[in-house]
Subunit: 419 residues, 2 copies
């Protein structure tokens, strides 16, 4: 057995043992451990930043872009924000242990489902070291053990953070293997994680499409993920056009580089003549490049013709596709064909049309008369978010603490036998 | 592109289109289609049996065992039972369309989760042709399209059943691609299904371990499954031994060949001296071979020593492992080490011990003072069962109609923007 395989299997076994303990840890125990983590991050701040400096120096040497280096940097403000994040998780309700769906069967058996942690969660992510702490805190609070595998460019930072967390958790009386980080940048470790189904119950990849594709293709463990967010706003014939304008601008411009930003604007032909020229001007003023269908290009001089590839591109940038559609049916068809099942919105004053859109658009979040940018765990009141899922299993859309749990059936009898 | 790939992709596209229609089909529409299926199975009975006869003849020629041929046979009674099963599904409540977890955010956004079908479900199974009808009925009622891939030995029977269903569904006004069966026995088709993630949302394999292993290793689509059921009954020091005896006998003998039958009996050392000789006699009388730990072998003359492999074997037969344990901790450790997370039971009169067992045993169903044989969708009141999951994602234990659905987030505003 290769050394890396041995390493991952040892981590897996330790994680499994930690998870068995965490499964019945009291909320107060978990919260004490989280507070110890917050304190440890404060105490180890200097050491963490020294290790982070090593990563930054190596990154500069390797010629990482300014944006990449910025994402990597653990400034004081970022460490403060990680610490605040851990304390926010302490305040969130513990999803574990409650029962639901209770029933009594005709034979007197009492049956219910009990909410329990998933077990051991593997998180595979790229450059931002804050994921180490965010994910560690959320998995701990939900009673799960975590095996973290960060990007090679952040290995020193991640190790410093994970060591601080693990020691703090152990000091608070829970297993140190509650939070583990793979200590090698060898890529073989990812392959070993993805097939360690005996020890890892769920993989959550966070990063670019290439990373996620690789994880899905090689994993024998369930994966929850989203590839990208190609989000649409459909402006219906019955829309309040002033509201539609503000929603579309917010969806595109409030933060263009994130997965719930709008990439394509669909406009009913009934209002395109009035709507497009006015919003086109405002988009142009904001520096947005418009790629349009034929009808759009006739209405907006500055628009370039959109290619078929454009409609299925997640720009994460100041570029917007615009298409004039005949009505709801064509809008729904377009979203079905080119969308990514992430978040899609309709602006309409017609309640029936809204209901139709909500029922027919098969996305993790469907919005009526508001901005796609609200598709977010904190905005939904989940308190925090481990990721967003566009899968159709287990959890869709923003995933908070409850989405890191599952149930088991508990059946209580008085000697009943099956006949 | 190979012909098989073209075939699966065409079926996938048709399934996707059917799912889009089914997602907003009214309950009455789905029930009408199911009634049409029941009538069609009755009307086509002779044709179905003729096709089944072809499979039986081919099976005899290939030297299939009597048990295999029996599983394959579509007797009148089995067709009656399939028809009755479809009508039972009509009577079950429709899980789709309800909303839950509604909340209003401080900014006035109204947020809820709406229960929706998963989409297109791929079912890969072995010999029993009744799965074709059972799975088709459950997926239809839950608003999903299904792509069925049955065993090669049942291909003619399955095609006859699927054709009858598909035509009936179309006659009732829903898409004929609601129920599709892969019409070739070429194994390449399974590989193509498992990587058609654009068209298939979930794979449910039903069959032996080898089949399931192959599916998991090759699928890029989420899989819900169980490998096997190594179910335990733990007789605690505080057990009512008469009750424990009846429960253990029921768990082992009521139907030994199924996944929720007991494979290992764990007995507290405090009561083993009293309990084992008496139950040993009754097990022996019932023809059960006992493989025991050292202490068991000392108490039961007829017991053979159990090997390490025995403890992790799903016999599905009149063989039982018996181990004397020091108490709850060792029982839980044994189940963690050798169990399959399916169903495990404790017999005890001590409520605290029961609670401890329930919290610490990480199985899809945990039972107190009753038989593992109750781990079953119908017994839990789910009405029907598409399978049992020992996974930690989405659904655990028996899966009924609700477990074939997921939710989407619905967000309704009045022009709210993200700041």
């Amino acid at each position: 057995m290769s050394e890396i395989r041995q390493l991952i299997q040892r981590m897996g076994r330790d994680g499994r043992a930690a998870a068995a303990r965490l499964a019945f840890a009291a909320t107060a125990e978990k919260d004490r451990a989280l507070e110890a983590v917050a304190v440890a991050l404060e105490n180890d701040r200097q050491k963490i930043q020294q290790e982070n400096e090593k990563d930054l120096a190596a990154g500069r040497e390797r010629g990482l872009s300014g944006a990449m280096l910025d994402r990597l940097a653990l400034t004081d403000a970022r460490i403060d924000s990680m610490i605040a994040g851990v304390r926010e998780v302490i305040r969130l309700p513990d999803p574990v242990g409650g029962t639901f769906d209770a029933r009594e069967r005709p034979n007197g058996l009492k049956i219910c489902r009990m909410r329990v942690p998933i077990g051991v969660i593997g998180i595979i992510y790229e450059s931002r070291p804050n994921v180490t702490v965010d994910a560690g805190a959320l998995t701990l609070k939900s009673g799960n053990a975590v095996i973290l595998r960060g990007g090679s460019e952040a290995i020193n930072s991640n190790l410093a953070l994970a060591r601080a967390m693990s020691a703090a958790v152990a000091g608070a009386g829970l297993p140190s293997a509650t939070v583990q980080l793979v200590p090698t940048i060898d890529r073989e470790a990812v392959g070993e994680m993805l097939t360690a189904e005996k020890y890892i119950d769920l993989i959550i990849p966070r990063g670019g499409k290439t990373l996620i594709r690789r994880v899905v293709e090689n994993s024998t463990i369930p994966v929850i993920k989203h590839y990208d967010g190609i989000c649409h706003v459909y402006v219906d014939a019955a829309a309040d056009l002033a509201m539609a304008t503000e929603i579309a601008l917010n969806a595109k411009l409030q933060r263009p580089g994130v997965c719930n930003a709008m990439e394509t604007l669909l406009v009913s032909g009934a209002v395109a003549g009035e709507f497009l020229p006015s919003i086109g001007k405002r988009l142009e003023d904001a520096g947005v490049e418009i790629r349009g269908c034929e009808r759009t290009c006739r209405l907006l001089e500055s628009a370039k013709p959109a290619t078929d590839e454009d409609w299925s591109t997640e720009y994460l940038d100041l570029i917007l596709n615009v298409r004039v559609v005949d009505g709801l049916d064509q809008a729904v068809e377009h979203i079905e064909k080119y969308g990514s099942r992430h978040t899609d919105a309709i602006v309409t004053g017609n309640a029936n049309t809204a209901k139709n859109f909500v029922c027919r658009v098969d996305s993790s979040s469907v919005m009526v008369n508001t901005s796609t940018r609200f598709s977010d765990g904190a905005q939904y009141g989940l308190g925090a978010e481990i990721g967003i899922s566009t899968d159709k299993l287990h959890a869709r859309g923003p995933m908070g603490l409850e989405e890191l749990t599952i149930y088991k059936w508990v059946v209580t009898g008085e000697g009943q036998l099956r006949e």
